[in-house]
Symmetry: C2
Subunit: 206 residues, 2 copies
C-alpha cells in the first residue's frame, strides 16, 4: 500500500531523476515519436530503464501516464511561447518571432500530433490539455495583435482572433506539409507567405 498514485497524473513535478520523472520523460518522447496508439507501456519501461511494476505503482495505466506526459509537454510549450509573446517589440515583430523561432520541423508538434490520435481525442481527460493549449495560444496571439492595433501599428480592419487562428494553423499545417515532403521547406514557405500578408497590414511608425 501507500501508493504514490492517489492523485496519479495530477501530481506536480516529481523529483528530478526519480522513477516517476523518468517514466514521464520517456512517455513524452515516445508520444512525440509514435503517437498514443503507437506507444506501448513496454517501450516506455525499456526507455526509462524500469520494470513493469514500477509503472503501475506510480500510475494507474497507460492513459494515466500519457495524461501526465501530455500535460507536461503542453505546459512547457506554453511557457516557451509566452516568453516570445511577452518580449518587447511591435505586434508584428512578436508574431514573426513566434513563427520564425527554431523548430524541429520534421518532428512536428508534440501536442498537435495528439489531435490525430483517436484514443486521445475521444477521451475528455486526454483532450483537455490540447484544447487548453491551443485555446490559450490563439487567445494570446489575438491579444498581441489587438495590442498592435491599439498602438496604431496594425490595420484596424483585421479580426485579431481570426488572424490568430491563421497564425496557429499555419504552424500546425506547416508541419504536415513538411513531413509529407520530408523537407522543412514547405513549412518555411507557409510561414513566409503569411508573414508577407501580415506585413502588408502594418503601418509605418508615424
Amino acid at each position: 500500500m501507500s501508493s504514490t498514485r492517489d492523485s496519479a497524473a495530477a501530481a506536480g513535478t516529481p523529483p528530478p531523476g526519480s522513477t516517476q520523472e523518468r517514466l514521464v520523460i520517456s512517455t513524452q518522447e515516445l508520444l512525440w515519436e509514435r503517437g498514443y496508439v503507437g506507444t506501448s507501456p513496454k517501450a516506455i519501461l525499456q526507455r526509462a530503464g524500469v520494470g513493469q511494476g514500477s509503472m503501475y505503482h506510480h500510475f494507474a495505466g497507460k492513459s494515466d501516464l500519457a495524461l501526465a506526459a501530455i500535460r507536461r509537454t503542453a505546459d512547457d510549450m506554453r511557457a516557451a511561447a509566452e516568453e516570445i509573446f511577452s518580449a518587447p517589440g511591435t505586434a508584428y515583430d512578436r508574431v514573426a518571432a513566434y513563427l520564425l523561432r527554431e523548430r524541429q520541423v520534421l518532428r512536428g508538434c508534440p501536442i498537435g500530433r495528439m489531435t490525430q490520435d483517436r484514443d486521445v481525442v475521444q477521451d475528455p481527460e486526454l483532450r483537455a490539455p490540447l484544447d487548453e493549449m491551443f485555446g490559450w495560444l490563439r487567445h494570446r496571439i489575438a491579444e498581441v495583435l489587438a495590442e498592435g492595433q491599439r498602438h496604431g501599428e496594425l490595420s484596424d480592419a483585421l479580426d485579431p482572433s481570426a488572424v490568430a487562428a491563421s497564425v496557429a494553423a499555419v504552424v500546425q499545417g506547416g508541419y504536415v506539409l513538411a513531413r509529407a515532403a520530408e523537407d522543412p521547406a514547405p513549412f518555411d514557405a507557409a510561414v513566409h507567405g503569411l508573414l508577407a500578408l501580415l506585413a502588408a497590414q502594418t503601418t509605418p511608425a508615424p
Copy 2:
C-alpha cells in the same frame, strides 16, 4: 497460384463491388478514422465482410493494402480540388472557394493524417502519395495565384508559392485546431483570417 496480386497495390481500379474494391474502401475508411498504426487487418476484413485468406490473396499484406487505399484517396482529393481550381473566376475567388468548400472538419484530412503516422512517413512507398498530393496542391494554388497576378487582380508583391503553402497549411492546421477543440470554429476562423489578408492584396477591377 494465379494470384491477382502480382502488381499488388499497383493495380488500377478493380471492378465495383469486387472483393478487392471492398477491401480498399474499408481500408480508406479505417485509415481515416484510426490511422495506419491503429488499423488492423482484422478490422479491415470485418468491415469488408471477407475472410483472412481473401486479403492475402489480393494483397501482399497490410502495407500493400494501405498503399492502394492511400493512392486512391489522394487521387480522389486531387480530382476534387482540381475541379475547384479550374472553375471560372478570379484567383481570389477560386482560392476562397477551395478554402470555404464543405469539409468534414472534425474528421480531418485523410491524407494529412497519414503524415503523423511514423510507419507511413518512414516507408518511401507509403509516403510518396502524400508528397505528390501536397506537392501538386501547393503548385496548383501557386499557379492560380500567379494567373491572378498576370491578370492584374492580385498584387505582384506576393510570392505565389509562399502564399500557396500558407493556404494549404491553414487548411491542414485548421483541422488540428478544430480537433483539439472538438469544434469546427477554429478552422473557420483560420480560413477567414487568411482570406481577409489575401483580399487586401486584390486590386479592384479596372
